[in-house]
């Protein structure tokens, strides 16, 4: 279970997150929506400390830390319980697909090479890249790169995988293959927090949708509640803007 308590964060004077509280149950898929600048990506990055929160508490599984008093060892423990899939994939550019997935198993988990390799190969097969083991990222399409990114995150067997707009940098025709992979691992009961603009995906896969604006959680509920019967005016506005009705003529 993941618990975020009173998370706050400012860039210079600008408050990006204002005392955010969010709980995610084990096996739950939570989708965070919101206009750009709402703080959703920052919140996600705080969960594995790529951004340092100014204050608040983060708990993942049996590990709990106070952000104001975080030590280097705490940050490392937190990061080893979480994994991130990046908008820009961020695959290690000088390593092949297989090496990308193996890297943390060897260096962080200290698995013997044979075991690390076996596990990595089966994960890459699972995301449909069994034939691309030795390809460098520069030789892979965006969709393939992102699937390697997902395999790399899965390899760590984290308590939660954080997806930061995983399909936003992709060509439209490649979005489907990546969403399909995410959908499949969601069905396996892996805990996920996903920041996305893919409404259809959110509706399908999410157990819960969180709508953020101006650094606060405005509204949360099941996809049905948030999409069909939003309570807050800001949510309604946002949904109207991203799912425009066809009431115009060209």
């Amino acid at each position: 279970m993941i618990e975020l308590k009173n998370i706050s964060k400012s860039f210079w004077r600008h408050e990006v997150l204002r005392n955010i509280n969010l709980n995610v149950e084990t096996g739950e898929v939570v989708v965070i929506l919101g206009p750009s600048g709402s703080g959703k990506t920052t919140l996600l990055r705080c969960v594995n400390y790529l951004e340092k929160p100014a204050g608040g508490e983060i708990a993942v599984g049996d590990f709990r830390m106070d952000c104001a008093r975080a030590k280097r060892g705490d940050v490392l423990r937190l990061r080893r319980k979480t994994a991130m899939v990046f908008q820009q994939y961020n695959l290690f550019r000088h390593k092949t697909a297989l090496e990308n997935v193996m890297e943390a198993l060897l260096v962080v988990k200290k698995l013997p090479p044979k075991e690390a390799r076996g596990r990595s190969v089966s994960l890459l097969e699972k995301v449909g890249l069994g034939d691309k083991l030795d390809a460098y990222p520069s030789r892979l399409s965006g969709g393939q790169q992102q699937r390697v990114g997902i395999a790399r995150a899965l390899a760590l067997e984290p308590e939660v995988i954080l997806f930061d707009e995983p399909t936003s940098a992709l060509d439209p025709e490649l979005v489907g293959e990546v969403l399909e992979v995410i959908r499949n691992i969601a069905r396996e009961g892996i805990t996920m927090i996903v920041v996305t603009h893919e409404m259809g995906f959110a509706r399908d896969v999410a157990n819960r949708v969180v709508f953020m604006d101006g650094g606060v959680v405005v509204e949360e509920g099941t996809p049905d509640e948030v999409f069909q019967r939003p309570r807050e005016e800001r949510t309604k506005q946002f949904l109207r803007r991203i799912t425009p009705e066809a009431n115009y003529s060209i």
């Binding site: 594995n48 400390y49 790529l50 490392l76 990061r79 080893r80 979480t82 994994a83 991130m84 990046f86 820009q88 961020n90 695959l91 290690f92 550019r93 000088h94 390593k95 890297e103 943390a104 260096v107 962080v108 460098y136 990222p137 520069s138 030789r139 892979l140 399409s141 965006g142 790399r152 760590l156």
Partner: protein, 236 residues
């Protein structure tokens, strides 16, 4: 005055003997300089207190003064420091026992360090920030991320500049003659003045330098091709 072509060959063979001196000065200054450069570049990039300010001062002072001046400062300054300390602590070591080439090693390493610092810094900055973030996100410590992810990519990015620096140090090593180390150029001068055929002797030296430089360029291109292999391929 006539060109004595056969003397070029004579000089060439005599000068060959000085190649090891030139190469050893180049190799020592490049290797030690790279270490200094790496440490100072990291100190500056990670804003390590005190060390980063010292590093910045070092880089601007050394890059702001000529290599020959460094050599002379070390040549005249170092013995004062060493003998002063030796007298104070009662060591038996005296600066007079430092071989001349030792001053060239020390001073050119300091020179190379400042230039390498900029080369390494540029290389590290060329690596996308996302690479470090990804390394951290999979649970690597900062030293692990540096060693496994950042350095290999930074090296690939820095290689063209690095080979430039090596060539610069190769050519700069001729200044060692100022403290009477006989390198390629100095040897040419000696050969020339004993025969009164300056042009021929320096031409031979130039050819040798050119050959060595081509060698450096070739090996750098070869290494670049090998460690930069991951960058090739069309799809973004």
């Amino acid at each position: 005055m006539q060109l004595d072509i056969s003397f070029i060959w004579t000089a060439f063979r005599q000068i060959l003997g000085a190649i090891p001196t030139t190469l050893s000065i180049t190799a020592v200054s490049v290797l030690v300089g790279f270490l200094i450069g790496a440490v100072t570049a990291l100190a500056r990039l990670y804003r390590v207190p005190v060390l980063s300010q010292v590093s910045s001062a070092y880089v601007t002072f050394i890059r702001g003064t000529p290599m020959l001046t460094h050599l002379l400062l070390i040549y005249f300054g170092l013995p004062m420091i060493i003998d002063g300390l030796a007298g104070h602590f009662g060591w038996s070591f005296r600066s007079a026992s430092i071989p001349m080439i030792g001053f060239a090693y020390i001073s050119f390493s300091i020179t190379a360090g400042a230039y390498m610092s900029e080369v390494v810094r540029a290389g590290l900055l060329a690596v996308d920030k996302g690479q470090t973030e990804a390394a951290h996100s999979v649970g690597m410590t900062t030293p692990q991320a540096l060693r496994r992810i950042l350095f290999p990519q930074a090296l690939a990015a820095a290689l063209p500049n690095l080979s430039n620096s090596v060539i610069g140090m190769l050519h700069g090593s001729t200044l060692a003659f100022a403290v009477s180390v006989v390198d390629i150029n100095a040897k040419a001068q000696i050969v020339a003045s004993t025969n009164w055929k300056f042009f021929e002797a320096y031409l031979a030296a130039a050819l040798i330098f050119w050959g060595l430089t081509v060698l450096i360029e070739r090996s750098s291109a070869w290494i670049e091709k090998r460690i930069g292999a991951y960058n090739r391929g069309g799809v973004a």
